[in-house]
């Protein structure tokens, strides 16, 4: 599904990522951990084609990012949904309009759009908040709206960059439940997080980065490696 092959990303003399390689299979739920500055966000931005790698190759379902022409990058991005720590919702659009945006971009007919948005808002429990603006929502509701927007088009891959970073433990747990539910429907998830509680309770695959290098890839890992505990 996702194949990261010896990816290096340099910003001038600074090496943000150094020869990172791993594969993620379809339907996996993978946590990307590591301290601040480890390269987690850079990796997500590389997957989103926001940055281009200095060296190496990214492949999704056999399609190489390096072969995608610049004017077709938007089609590459449409394969993925993305959730940000700071939600990145449009303040002057209602929850419904924010969630509908990716469908509008992909020119979905109105009736289908309404149906899909209603369904996804129901899934994340925001039906009652559909016509409120972001400023009228709590942090948890904002993140649920952001998640709804990310998955409304039914992408194969969901990227999440610190989605629980601004949430309290209870709301974080609720969010992870939602992510799990979405993952069970077949969506592959790569989540960059600092949230130890979430990672430890999930017991899923953990890829750890440190100073731009892949230092751990465990199938059923915890936030801290066994070696570090010792």
């Amino acid at each position: 599904m996702i194949n990261i092959e010896k990816i290096t990303k340099k910003f001038g003399d600074i090496i943000a990522l150094s020869e990172i390689s791993f594969k993620i299979e379809k339907g996996e739920f993978v946590f990307l951990t590591g301290p601040s500055g480890a390269g987690k966000t850079t990796l997500i931005k590389l997957l989103l084609a926001e940055y281009s790698p200095t060296l190496g190759e990214i492949e999704i379902n056999g399609e190489k990012l390096s072969k995608v022409p610049k004017n077709k990058l938007h089609l590459w991005r449409r394969k993925m949904g993305v959730v940000f720590q700071d939600y990145k919702l449009f303040p002057d659009r209602t929850v419904f309009e924010n969630v509908a945006l990716p469908l509008e971009i992909s020119r979905t007919p109105v009736s289908e759009l309404n149906e899909k948005v209603d369904k996804i808002l129901n899934l994340v429990g925001l039906t009652e908040r559909a016509y409120l603006f972001p400023a009228q929502l709590s942090g948890g509701e904002l993140q649920r709206a952001s998640l709804a927007r990310a998955v409304v088009t039914g992408p194969e891959i969901l990227l999440a960059d610190e989605p629980t970073g601004n949430l309290d433990p209870k709301t974080s747990a609720e969010m992870i439940e939602l992510f799990t539910e979405i993952n069970k429907k077949g969506t592959t998830i790569l989540m960059a997080t600092h949230n130890q509680g979430v990672v430890d309770s999930f017991k899923g695959r953990v890829i750890e980065l440190d100073k731009g290098k892949l230092v751990r890839d465990e199938a059923e890992g915890k936030y801290e490696s066994k070696k570090a505990k010792k």
């Binding site: 926001e50 938007h74 991005r77 449409r78 993305v82 449009f90 971009i105 992909s106 088009t153």
Partner: protein, 290 residues
């Protein structure tokens, strides 16, 4: 989605939009006025140029053969466009027509006292003087008058109006493009983060840029419509004065079709100006984000 986004852009910063529309509207109004002035003065000039420009008054004793000889001689120069002979009776008819509301003047005049004449127009304005000199040498010609000064002055004036209009028009169009560039540039900068989000959500360059292109075109088209309306109102307001000033020169009433053509021209100009301004603004933004 594009129309919805344009509406949002306009409603979010209405004063910036209004400023852009007012500046472009003023520019287009001046362009419309100079266009009308240029076309109008062109018609006036053409009117004078196409009128018989030299009147040669003939002596009473002239014989028909001498008139024919004189006409042949003039045609032989190759510089004459048309020659019309007006007999004494024709001159009386014209006199009567011109003074039909002054019966006292009509009573006193008979065909006998009016001279027969040749009305001559030339192919080139520059030939007027030469032909007039030739006619003056003719023994059977009593007097020669021609409108050289009027036409020369008018043609200089028309050329000046066109030049000023062109320079002013180009200058104002430049200001219009720059205004749209600055206003849209500010709007694009304000939406920098939104543009980034849209990109990440899979929006193509066209999805992102087209609302701004459409907004620029909207400014241009709205300005064209308003400036056309203002110039039409100004023209209608000035019509009574212009009609009495221009006398028998056939300009008024101005056909609506002609004004519709002016509107079409202004709208095309509006689309070009708006699109150019928005493309430049978008290009500047793309350069700054690289």
């Amino acid at each position: 989605m594009i129309i919805k986004t344009v509406k949002q852009h306009l409603s979010r910063s209405p004063y910036q939009s209004l400023a852009a529309i007012l500046v472009v509207c003023f520019a287009f109004f001046v362009i419309a006025v100079f266009t009308l002035l240029g076309i109008g003065s062109g018609i006036v000039l053409h009117y004078f140029e196409s009128r018989p420009q030299i009147s040669a008054f003939l002596k009473d004793e002239i014989k028909p053969q001498e008139i024919e000889l004189m006409k042949a001689k003039l045609v032989g120069t190759g510089k004459v466009k048309s020659i019309t002979y007006f007999s004494k009776e024709d001159a009386l008819k014209i006199y009567k027509e011109q003074n039909k509301d002054k019966p006292l003047l009509l009573e006193m005049v008979t065909a006998k006292i009016l001279p027969a004449s040749l009305e001559i127009s030339t192919n080139e304005l520059s030939s007027l003087k030469e032909i007039a000199q030739e006619l003056k040498k003719e023994p059977m010609v009593e007097d020669v008058i021609f409108q050289e000064d009027v036409i020369t002055a008018l043609s200089k004036w028309t050329a000046t109006v066109k030049k000023i209009g062109l320079v002013l028009g180009v200058f104002l169009l430049l200001i219009s493009v720059l205004t749209i560039l600055v206003v849209l540039g500010m709007k694009i900068s304000q939406r920098k983060e939104e543009i980034e989000i849209l990109k990440l959500l899979g929006a193509s360059s066209w999805d992102i840029c087209s609302p701004f292109y459409l907004e620029g075109i909207f400014y241009g088209v709205i300005s064209a419509i308003f400036s056309w309306g203002f110039s039409y109102i100004a023209l209608l307001y000035a019509t009574p004065f212009l009609v009495s000033f221009l006398g028998e020169i056939p300009i008024f009433p101005i056909p609506f079709l002609f004004m519709a053509e002016i509107l079409g021209g202004l709208m095309i100009l509006g689309i070009v100006v708006g699109f150019t301004g928005s493309i430049l603004a978008m290009a500047r933004f793309i350069r700054s984000t690289k």
